[in-house]
Amino acid sequence: MAISRRKFINMLTVGSTACLALLSPITSWAAWASDAFNATSPDDAYKNLFGSTDTVDSDEVKLKVPKIAENGGAVPVSVKTNLKDVESITIFVKDNPQPLTATFQISAKTIPDISTRIRLAQTSTVTAVIKADGKLYSKSQEVKVTIGGCGG
């Protein structure tokens, strides 16, 4: 699905920015990986998104998450890599109701270095998966979520 999406964008961007108007919600919707996002287990999400659960744990995937979340509602996450030919960066939260959190398509011009803020329903392992040259590389780390808070 991701590939057809990219082809479609390439087709579009051959033209000018005037084509932007053509990016109607319907076409974008079609590209959104709904099966993978709706999956309730990490394995199902992997299968739907990558067609495989075969990942290699790699230090090339630089994942930065806190050890203890200040705020489970907005946990900063950064992922970057020096790997070549990166196609996508994807973030999973193992114990969230829907583990697939976000997936970023990395074009030839995009630097494989992204940051976002995610929700953790509870203490969970956060995993970043980088697809590069057709292979899946991953890195995981646990983030603790605590209840309460003085927040002085």
Binding site: R5, I9, L12, T13, G15, S16, T17, C19, L20, L23, P25, S28, W29, A31, W32, A33, F37, G73, A74, V75, S78, V93, N96, P97, Q98, P99, L100, T101, A102, T103, F104, Q105, S107, K109, T110, I111, D113, I114, S115, T116, R117, I118, R119
Partner: protein
């Protein structure tokens, strides 16, 4: 949508904050006792001179008022960026930002 974009050494770094509730569809309204319907951004894109330089697909685990930071090769001070998101209900927001 708030955008901060800076160019340095032929690399443009972009930070975006999209104002959006990111309702998961699982939350219960405390007063009515009913589920608040899901409303979340599914896709956010950024274009520079007609090229898509960033595509993010998001789910309900992304925090309220999604924050995204990314960078791409090319771009210079004064260039325009077109950012756009659409959510699961079909709402769309577009903004043009200048690289500083």
């Amino acid at each position: 949508m708030k955008v901060k974009a800076k160019a340095k050494n032929n690399i443009t770094s972009v930070r975006v904050l999209a104002k959006h509730p990111m309702e998961t569809g699982r939350r219960i309204d405390k007063e009515s006792g009913e589920k608040i319907p899901a409303k979340y951004i599914q896709e956010l894109t950024c274009e520079h001179e007609g090229n898509v330089v960033f595509v993010a697909q998001l789910g309900t685990s992304v925090s309220k008022n999604p924050y995204l930071a990314f960078s791409f090769e090319g771009g210079k001070k004064g260039d325009a960026l077109q950012l756009r998101w659409n959510d699961n209900t079909g709402d769309v927001a577009k903004v043009e930002a200048k690289i500083k």
